[in-house]
């Protein structure tokens, strides 16, 4: 529904030259549902959040203007620094999963592979599984006393730790689930990228005497860089906003919470548990700026390593 409207709107916009008034009225009419939705559900909350970040809010509504107080408090807040550190560590760990997705995509792209559809479905399954189900299932797997992982380790004589409750391991345990969940989606993107590489490059390389490995590094990887860039940007944005896995896998009173509390989790704690909505809004604004800055940086750096055909 929305797609057709968008397309119609795009067509209307693409028409060159000046048109009678009636025509562009139609255009605005057609984009109105979409634009209204955006304004009400995206733009207005952004404006509201910005406003709230300069206020201190009462428990049951009502705000008082406090200027930059929330932001000043944020910079001295040890919990915010901890959350920033945890979020960045998690993001770096999840980015390490990107090369893994390339390998899986390359394997899924092998011509004539038996059960191709089966494997593609298998890797994509985590993407269509509810995050709540993913979090709870992994929590059971990680359980120190009754989890499958420690049971298997016990069979070979290793006494495994409490993966999701131990301050030393929890953030890594969460990152593994994060990688696992995004692997399928990224692999599908890479698969599309791989199939977009024209066959004749490989033929020419083969004639010139390049082996499979050399072809992979000299043709596949460079021509895959636009996809890689896109995947890195999306993965980083998602990773910086991780909340559900922490919420579902780490108990509020867990000793591992300090080492795995992310920025969005801190936002949730402040806004919904502690009733500091203004402070929470300030956290959201800082996160927005952080995401914008890191994404802009990636766009800057892409000129050095992304090859467009």
């Amino acid at each position: 529904m929305l797609l057709t409207e968008e397309r119609a709107a795009a067509k209307a916009a693409a028409r060159p030259g000046r048109r009678p008034r009636r025509d562009w009225l139609w255009g605005y009419g057609l984009i109105a549902p979409m634009a209204l939705g955006l304004a009400v559900f995206y733009l207005w909350p952004i404006v509201q959040t910005l406003y709230l970040s300069f206020t201190e809010s009462g428990v049951f509504g009502g705000q008082t203007w406090v200027g930059l107080d929330n932001f000043a408090a944020l910079f001295g807040d040890e919990e915010m620094l901890g959350a920033l550190r945890n979020t960045l560590l998690y993001s770096v760990l999840v980015l390490i999963g990107v090369p893994l997705a390339i390998v899986i995509a390359a394997l899924l792209n092998v011509p004539g592979l038996r059960g191709l559809g089966f494997f593609r479905t298998l890797y994509f399954l985590p993407v269509v599984t509810m995050p709540a189900a993913v979090g709870l299932t992994w929590r059971y797997l990680y359980n120190g006393d009754f989890g499958l992982i420690n049971y298997l380790l016990g069979e070979i004589g290793i006494d495994g730790p409490y993966w999701a409750s131990d301050p030393e391991f929890a953030i890594y345990a969460i990152a593994v689930v994060g990688i696992w969940s995004s692997l399928g989606y990224n692999a599908v993107l890479f698969l599309a990228g791989l199939q977009g590489i024209p066959k004749h490059y490989y033929e020419a390389a083969a004639i010139d005497g390049a082996g499979r490995t050399r072809q992979f590094f000299r043709i596949t990887l460079p021509l895959l860089t636009p996809t890689t860039f896109f995947v890195m940007v999306i993965t980083l944005i998602n990773a910086l906003q991780v909340f559900d896995l922490v919420y579902l896998m780490i108990d509020t009173k867990s000793p591992a919470m300090a080492g795995s509390r992310t920025i969005v989790y801190l936002f949730y704690e402040q806004g919904f548990v502690q009733n500091n909505r203004g402070y929470a809004a300030a956290i959201a604004v800082v996160l927005l700026v952080l995401i914008l800055a890191l994404t802009a940086l990636q766009f800057r750096l892409q000129r050095r390593w992304v090859h467009y055909e």
Binding site: G58, V59, F60, G61, P131, A132, Y142, N143, G144, D145, F146, P161, Y162, A164, S165, D166, P167, N238, Q241, V242, F243, D244, Y247, D251, T252, K253, S254, P255, A256, M257, A258, V264, F267, Y268, E269, F272, V273, Q274, N275
Partner: protein
């Protein structure tokens, strides 16, 4: 994005709930009021009580909404902010001041609460007005596994037990080779470290609610009772074990000798056909300074924004009546009535457990749950710092002093 989706789901449920709760008057003149609770093990008794109320008031329909504890307060607060709280809902002494001050609750006028324990009723008074009709009483008790005691040849806990008796028994019951522990020591305030703080002569908050008591020597001793069991004597599993798995479930595996748990667990334990008859209860052991137990009783509050204030108040009052309280106790669910003379049915529902003896021995030593205006705020500080002490990452006395410092700052702003 992901937070938004998770919370959006919660809010959607809230809004759906409110929508049906406030749209009420139907053509026939019948009205509907909504009633929110969090304990699903009380569903059976609550439905029966609603039935009895509707019989007396044929023109009123009560719609029951059960939201698990973890989401209950977020949902209630969101609804209250939007002016759409349920008509009648469960309230605890921890939150009642915040909600009363915020104008969410309607005071209850001319209520007769003389049949309820003073310690519980006082918890719901704010500025001289009553903001909740008392309903039940929750008592922390010492649950113990009879089978483990028999195997180790240790005599069962009695009402005369002291901390030393408990520690000695815990040592005998612990067997590291079998991953068997004498005691479960989750980080739990009401039935865990709050009672032991008072038992050791300390206090959580001063009587006027202005100063933290966490840095008192007695309070530190009450906290070290737990952290020493875990990290020094090693007669309790590490903190990671009790956050990885719900302690209630751990206790039912038959590998833990004793557990400071709520009296309300009786219904869950009884339902466990495998181990339910192998456990029993005793009162909490006496501390070095005194005998004490934190009494917690829930109350039913009425929304100040209710469209049917008269019927809602009638329902809240009915919930505390002798008739309703008797139904509550007799059903044998999670809660036992706090109204004098209506409790025996609940004790009789659990013939295997010595609950009546535990209640009779404990209630005279009941002290109220420590609260201030915004209790949740300093409890958050308390839980974060104690998590480090429980995990053995920070000396308990050090964590306690830090809690006191931060808590005093919060209290000063209240």
């Amino acid at each position: 994005m992901r937070l938004r989706m998770t919370l959006a789901a919660a809010l959607a449920v809230t809004l759906a709930g409110c929508g049906s709760g406030t749209d009420t008057t139907t053509k026939s003149g019948k009205i509907t009021i909504s009633y929110a609770i969090w304990e699903k093990n009380d569903q059976a008794s609550t439905q029966k009580i609603i039935g009895a109320f509707q019989k007396q008031h044929p023109d009123v329909t009560v719609k029951l909404e059960i939201t698990p504890w973890d989401q209950y307060w977020i949902k209630l607060q969101t609804a209250a902010t939007g002016g759409a709280a349920p008509d009648v809902f469960w309230m605890n002494s921890l939150n009642v001041r915040l909600y009363a001050k915020g104008g969410v609750l309607a005071p209850i006028e001319n209520a007769d609460v003389s049949a309820f324990p003073q310690a519980i009723v006082d918890g719901y008074r704010y500025n001289g007005k009553l903001y909740g009709m008392p309903r039940d009483v929750g008592l922390p008790v010492l649950w113990y596994d009879k089978e483990l005691f028999d195997k180790a040849g240790v005599t069962y806990p009695t009402a005369d037990w002291t901390w030393d008796d408990l520690r000695a028994a815990a040592k005998k019951l612990t067997d590291p080779a079998k991953k068997q522990y004498g005691l479960l020591a989750p980080m739990w305030d009401q039935g865990g470290f709050y009672p032991t703080i008072v038992q050791a002569g300390g206090h959580v908050i001063s009587a006027d609610g202005k100063r933290s008591g966490f840095d008192e020597p007695g309070s530190i001793r009450g906290l070290e009772f737990w952290t020493d069991m875990i990290n020094k004597d090693k007669v309790a599993p590490p903190a990671q074990a009790t956050t990885d798995t719900d302690p209630v479930q751990l206790f039912m595996t038959g590998k833990y000798g004793m557990y400071y748990g709520g009296s309300w667990l009786a219904t869950a334990f009884k339902a466990n056909t495998e181990r339910g008859d192998k456990v029993d209860v005793a009162p909490l052991p006496k501390g070095p300074a005194q005998e004490a137990v934190i009494l917690l009783g829930l109350a039913n509050a009425v929304s100040a924004k209710s469209e049917h204030p008269v019927e809602s108040a009638q329902f809240a009052t009915f919930l505390s009546s002798e008739e309703a309280e008797k139904i509550l106790s007799d059903t044998g669910g999670a809660s036992v009535s706090s109204r004098a003379g209506t409790q025996d049915g609940w004790f009789d529902a659990f013939p295997n457990y010595h609950l009546k003896e535990a209640f009779d021995a404990s209630i005279p030593h009941g002290v109220p749950y420590p609260v201030s205006l915004n209790t949740a705020k300093w409890q958050d500080v308390q839980n974060k710092l104690l998590a480090e002490a429980w995990a053995g990452k920070r000396p308990t006395a050090d964590a306690a002093r830090e809690i006191a410092a931060q808590m005093n700052e919060i209290l000063a702003k209240e």
